[in-house]
C-alpha cells in the first residue's frame, strides 16, 4: 500500500544524497590554491601519471583530505544517531559522554609534558593519545552504566565526566607555556589538514568495521525506539545492547577526535536533517543515509574551511557551527512545537 510511497521517498533521498556526494567530491578535488583543470585531474586520478607536482598535489594533499573528511563526517553522524537513540534525546551529540574532553586531556598531557622533556613526538603518538583519552572516558561511563539504570542520570554522568576531564586539562594548562596552550587550543578546534594515506586507511578500517557492526544492530536499535522496557519484551538483551551502543559510538567519536580533533555539530545536525528528509527513524534505512549525509556535510564544511580565506585555513568546527547551529536551533523550535502542539 503506502509502502510504495515510502520506498519512493527513500530512493529519492538516497539518490539526491549520492548526487550531492559526487558533486561535493568533484568540487573538493577541483579546488585548492593550485588550479588544475578537471580533465588533468581525471587523468591523474585514474592513471597516476602526469606532472609530478600536480600528481603530488592531487594524490598526497587533496585526496587524503577529502577521504578523511568523508569518512570522519560519516562516523560523527552515525555516532550522534546512536547516542540520540540510546538516550531518546535528539540533542545528544557524539561528545555527550565526555569523549572529546577525555581526548583533549590526554593530548594536553602529551603535548605539555612529553614535548618539554623529550623534544619530539610523532603525530601517531598524539593520535594514539587522543584515542586513549577518549576510550578512558568511555570506560568510566561503562563502569557507571552498570550501577546507573536510569538514562537521564547516565546522561548527566557523562556530562560530569566531561567536566572532570576539562577541569584536569585546565589544571595542566595553568602550568604550561603560552606556546603549548595555543597549539592545544587549535587542536581542539579540529582540522583535516594533516591527513595522509596512513590516517585514511586506519580510519577507514576502524570506521568501516564499526559501521558494519552498527548496521547489524539495526534490529535492536529499532526495538529500542519504543523504550527500554518494550525492547526487553521483544527479546533484546538490554545489558549487552547498552554496552555495545556506548562502545560503538565511542569508537566512532574517538576516531574522529584522534584524527581530526573534536568537530562539533555534525553529530547533531545531520541525523536530524536525514531523519526528517527520510521521514523515518528506521535504522536499516537511516544508517547508510546518515553516513552519506555526514560525509557530504563534512566535505562541504572542509571545502569552505580551506578555500574561503585561502591560504589562511579556518578550523572546521567554525564552519560546521556556522551551518550546523542554525539547524540545531530550527530543530529545537520544531521539537517544542511538536510537544506543545
Amino acid at each position: 500500500m503506502n509502502n510504495f510511497k515510502r520506498r519512493a521517498r527513500y530512493e529519492l533521498v538516497f539518490l539526491l544524497m549520492i548526487l550531492a556526494f559526487c558533486l561535493i567530491t568533484v568540487l573538493n578535488i577541483n579546488s585548492g590554491s593550485v588550479n588544475i583543470p578537471l580533465r588533468r585531474i581525471l587523468t591523474i586520478l585514474f592513471t597516476r601519471s602526469g606532472d609530478p607536482t600536480e600528481v603530488g598535489i592531487i594524490w598526497k594533499i587533496r585526496l587524503p583530505r577529502i577521504l578523511t573528511a568523508a569518512i570522519l563526517g560519516g562516523a560523527l553522524s552515525l555516532s550522534g544517531f546512536l547516542l540520540q537513540t540510546f538516550f531518546q534525546n535528539p540533542i545528544a551529540g557524539p561528545y555527550v559522554l565526555g569523549i572529546s574532553s577525555g581526548a583533549k586531556m590526554t593530548v594536553a598531557v602529551v603535548m605539555i609534558y612529553f614535548l618539554d622533556r623529550y623534544n619530539q613526538v610523532s603525530s601517531y603518538l598524539l593520535i594514539a593519545a587522543a584515542f586513549a583519552g577518549a576510550m578512558l572516558s568511555t570506560g568510566f561511563i561503562l563502569l557507571l552504566s552498570r550501577k546507573i539504570n536510569s538514562m537521564p542520570i547516565l546522561l548527566v554522568a557523562g556530562i560530569m565526566v566531561g567536566y572532570i576531564c576539562s577541569a584536569i586539562t585546565d589544571f595542566i594548562v595553568t602550568f604550561a607555556s603560552d606556546s603549548d596552550i595555543v597549539n592545544l587550543h587549535s587542536w581542539s578546534l579540529g582540522s583535516f589538514s594533516g591527513a595522509n594515506w596512513g590516517t585514511v586507511s586506519i580510519a577507514a578500517w576502524i570506521v568501516g568495521i564499526t559501521f558494519a557492526a552498527v548496521f547489524l544492530m539495526s534490529k535492536p536499535l529499532g526495538a529500542f525506539q519504543l523504550g527500554e522496557n518494550y525492547a526487553k519484551s521483544v527479546g533484546v538483551n538490554i545489558r549487552f545492547f547498552k554496552v555495545a551502543i556506548i562502545l560503538l559510538s565511542s569508537v566512532l567519536s574517538a576516531c574522529v577526535t584522534a584524527f581530526a580533533g573534536p568537530i562539533s555539530f555534525v553529530g547533531i545536525a545531520v541525523p536530524f536533517l536525514v531523519k526528517k528528509a527520510l521521514n523515518t527513524a528506521n535504522p536499516l534505512v537511516v544508517t547508510p543515509a546518515l553516513f552519506l549525509g555526514g560525509a557530504v556535510f563534512c566535505m562541504f564544511s572542509d571545502l569552505i574551511a580551506r578555500t574561503a580565506f585561502a591560504p589562511t585555513e579556518l578550523n572546521v568546527s567554525t564552519v560546521t557551527a556556522m551551518f550546523g547551529a542554525p539547524v540545531v536551533i530550527l530543530m529545537m523550535l520544531f521539537y517544542r512545537k511538536e510537544k506543545v502542539g
Binding site: 598526497k60 594533499i61 623534544n119 606556546s179
Partner: protein, 404 residues
Amino acid sequence: MNNTMKKKLLYALAIVLACAACLTACGSESSTTVYSNKASKESSETKSAETDAAAPAIEGLTYESTLKLDYAKCFSVYKYQGGYSLIAVNDGRNYFIVPDGAETPSSLDSSYIVLKQPLDHIYLAATAAMCEFDSLDAIDHVLLSGEEADGWYIDSAKAAMESGAMLYAGKYSAPDYESLVKNRCDVAIESTMILHSPDVQEKIEELGIPVFIDRASYEPEPMGRTEWVKVYGVLTGKEDKAEEVFEEQKKYEDALADFTNTESTVAFFYVNSNGMVVTRKSSDYIPRMIEIAGGRYVFKDLGSDDDTASSAVNMGMEEFYASAKDADYIVYNASIEDPINSIQELVDKNAMFADFKAVKSGNVWCTDKSLYQASNVNGTVINDMHIMLTGGSTDDVKYLRKLQ
C-alpha cells in the same frame, strides 16, 4: 523476498569493507619518510650537550675544516672538499648541504637531511629567522612566508610581500601544502613550535620537502643567538657576508669586556591579559644581555628548579612586587603584548607599580615591538642597554625607548 533482501544488504556490507581495503592499498603506494625521529629521541636527553668535536666521516668526501664559533653552542658546521657542508644541530638533526650542481654522495647516512643548493624557494615559518636573511641581503631566497605582510617588522620582508615577490603560505600550524608543492619549495624553515604539530612536519616531509628547525632561541648566550647568522650563511651560500655581519655585532660585546658592572638592577617583564607578570628565568639570554651590558638582572636565581624548555615565568603581582620593587630600571617587554607609551600606562595596568623604585625615579624603558624579529642585532641591543645603564644619550638607542 527476505533472502534477496538479505543478499543485497550483505553485498552492500561487502562493498563497504572492500572500500576500506582499497584505501589501505592506495595509501601503501606512497612512502612516508620520517626524518631522524629516532636519532633525535636518543640525543634529546642531553639537550645542551655539545656536538661531537670530531667531525663525522662521510664516505667519498674529504673533511676540510670545522667552522670556528665564538659563542654558539647549539650547532656545529663541518666543511668538506667540494663545497659540501654538514650542519649538526644539538637536537640530533644533521643537515647535509649539497652545492648547486653537485652529486649527493650515495652512501650518505640515511638520517642526514639533504638540502640541495641553491635554496631559494624557502618557506620561512620561523619568524625569528627572517632578520638573518635580511642582514645577509638574502630576502630573495625566501619565497613563501608563514606570516602575512603586515606581520613583519623587517622592511625588506614587508616590501617583498607587498610586491608579490614573497607569498603568504599559511602559518606554521596550517601551511598551504598545495602552494608549497606548486612553488617547488626546497626547504621549510620552522621554529620549534612545529614540534607541537608533528602531523604538519610529517606532511611536509611526506611531500618531499625537508624541514629545517631553527634552534637559535635555545642558545644560552645572546651573541650565540646572533651567531646563527652563520648557519643561514651556509644555507644561502653567503658565508663571507655572515662572518662580516657577525663581527659587526661582536664588536659591541667585545667593547664591554672590561667594563665594571654598575650593579644596577634591571627588571624585564610584561603584564599579560590575565594580569599576571611574565618575566624571564635567570638563565635566559635577556638577563645575560643585561649582565654583559653592565647591569644585574633583578632575579638572582629565578626558575632554576624548573627544567622545562620554556624560559618564561608567570608570577602574581604580589610576588613580583616583593622581589622587584627595588629594581633600579624597568624594561617593559613589548614584543609580545602591546607596548606601553608612558609610565602612567604601566601604573594603569596595576596600581602597585607606583611604588616601584624605577617608577618613582623615572627609569622606565620599553622595548621595540620588533624585538623578537631582531635576534640578529643582539649586540646593538646590548649596547642600548649599556647606554641606559650608564645614562648615555637616548638618541643613540635603537631598540629601547625611555618612557615619560
